[in-house]
Amino acid sequence: MKKHLLVTTGLTALALTTLLAGCGGKKASATANQTLNLVQVSDPTTVDVNDVRNANEFNILNATQEGLFRVTSKNGHDDLKLAQAKSYKVSDDGKVYTFKLRNSKWSDGKDVTAQQFVDSILRELNPKNAFAYASMAYDIKGAEAYNTKKGSADAVGAKALDKHTLQLTLTNKTPYFLKKLASVVFYPVRLDKINKVGTKKWKTDWKDQVYNGAYTMKSWKTNGKIVLTKNPKFWNAKKVNFKTVNVTTTEKDATITSLLQSGQLDAVLTSGANAADFNKLTANKKITKRTQAGGSTSFVVFNQHTGGTSKLLKNAKIRQALSLAINRSAYNKAINGGQGEAVYSFVPDSIDVNTTNYHDYAGNLLTPALKKFNTNAKLQQLFQTGLKQLGRDTNLSKVTLTYLSSSNDDTGTFLKQQFESKLGIKLKVKTAPDDASFIADRNDNQYDLLSNGWTGDYDDPSTFLNLWVSTGGFQKFFGGYDSPDYDKLYASLATVSNTKQRLKIYRQLEQRLLTEDYGVAPVTGEKTQIFTNKQLKNFQTPVFGPNYDYVYASKD
């Protein structure tokens, strides 16, 4: 999931505010226990499950709609629980999944059927709809062909065998397929409703929505708040405790802190520099704080498309010198207020392969190189070697690199100081006034370096490592790393399902990317800090998918 399309911002907040005035005394406290008011940084861009792309949309849709599975979380490790699916079976070759659905109804009383899940997959893949997450379904047979207009919808391996039986056929055995399938993009859809208003309008047309999840949308005012009320038709409605959920839009940390402190707010999820803004809350006895590993990595991008404005970045030695010149723990302190963690590899430590933690297995890949090049002189020499290879003047003080920054970003200031003091080169920081300009400059290759972040879509290293495949479509936004060896190695994963072997290949991929080609420089990882009202119970905070799940949460 691209939570952070451009830079890691990282604040998702939940808040509890008092209900509109009007009820007093006992009645008020009774409603207070049945009301959860949340805060989000910005409005969802869509309520169309197939069209999602940002974290806050996942959060809303996770509460109002439901898919085959629900992601639960314990101590920063995710698990899947059956939801709309009652049971499922996987064929011996690992390619055919058969799901039995439970008896469940939409908020308008109609049944949830297997065909609605098939409709969702086909709609997601329909090239005319141009949905961002269509590639999530590519594991399904015929999906990629249909989405890229090379095949037909009929050939897609998604069939409804009867009203309550759904069968999905994959191209290859894919060990992490179910983790992907839990995503919002695979939630069922009601074509009868959508066709009435059209896909374009459906995106934000909350008034015509129907819901198979725990809540229905009562109102949505952009830049104001979203109000959810309990859905009595939800199959497990008995276990849903909150009658009302209010999600208010504000991005001001001072405001959120005031809300939490005054008891008008229950919980806030935050990471990065903003997390430091809430430190004061730890002194408050009514609030608990916990920290869990996050699912994203921030990194510095090297322009390998054109070598950048300086034409130097195609050289691996120069990239190496730059990557090793960044003091990652200082970066974490400066940019994240010490609230994240310095990282020396790309895949975050929250990711597991089967039951093995990938990071424990792979280790900190950049550490040996950092130890070897531990002085400024050695780093400068490395940079000069690169300059020599390119046949350029080795006078470092004459080198100027351009760092493209989006607005209100301190990374440029920090990197400028790092590179100038350690390498003796100059860094020009170019600040784009907004996202659209940043993108325009980036696509025009008007940069040597820029910062970016990536949040995984599902719990497997591939969600981080497939970014760098040259045909994958994403590497071009992250500097255009292009290595035939890497591509070949990644392709070999298709036929490997053994956990040990997969771990080995993942590690080889990461090593090639980070320590041989220096295609990207990971700097910090996210740590999520969760401040909650002590009364709030069973409040789930999955690492992947939605940031939080309060469907079965309660307050005492």
């Binding site: 934000t204 952009t222 005031s258 907004d434």
Partner: protein, 316 residues
Amino acid sequence: MLKVILRRLIALLISLFLIASATFFLLAAVPGDALSAQTDKLPAATRKQVYQNTGLDQPVLKRYGITMTNMLHGDFGTSIADPGMTMKTVIEEKLPPSARLGLQQILFGVPLGLLLGVLAAVYKNRWVDRGVTVVSLLLMSVPSLILGLLLQSYFGGKLGLFPIIGWPEGSDLWFGGWAYTILPTLAGGLGYIASYARLLKNSMLDVLSSDYVLTARTKGLPGWRVVSEHVIRNAAIPIITSLPVTVAFSITGSVFVESIFVIPGVGQYFVQALTNRDVPIIMGETVLLAALYIVTLFITDLLYMAVDPRIKLYQS
């Protein structure tokens, strides 16, 4: 008179046409568009499809033609960033909170400011005058943003007297949920106290030093009668003529107060549309705001004529 109005109306239409065209081409010249952030990192074919679906793939001039033709029919188009939002829904959903906030600020700030202004002028150079001057200068010098933040963290957060954020809705939209509105009203209204107190004081001093007041005084008219019969009437001219502009400003929203107190108003939405490069909404808001201001300025001119017959419209 009718001729004047007709002439102004034609000028208004020409101005609006120019403004709409200028806005359109300026926006077209800006790198990136409403979809560039949204479609960033999508496969090329997918991106192309998204552009096709919204009609943004058409050449600039063709889009200009379509936009202007639709605009002639009063249709500004649908938001690109926020499908389903049109200028009609913006006015229905976003204008009421902003308008109520603005009107409350004016109803609170202007009368108080006028009262202080009269006191300051009547007790010129005494402590009342000095107090009013100091307070109004101070209020003028503190940005409303900071006032808002301070009010919010102290009265909302620390003392817990008022809700920190939020705005009445539903049946309370126009009348009700007062607790929510107090801090935002203060944040903007205090400024009106300052500016109107100064405005009235200065205009009263002008009048007080004028010949006819001197005459009245020398005739032996008591002080309060001079003030009530001669001063107030004449000193009110600048107040009456600035009020329309104040109202037009205030009801169209204040970005900062709205964003601090999470008020779903026009001000915030406009800035959001701008950052999203949401051309239909930007065009719609710009043209409507411009029309509102131009009409307001015209009303101001008419008021001038009404209150001060010496002034002629357009000394051509």
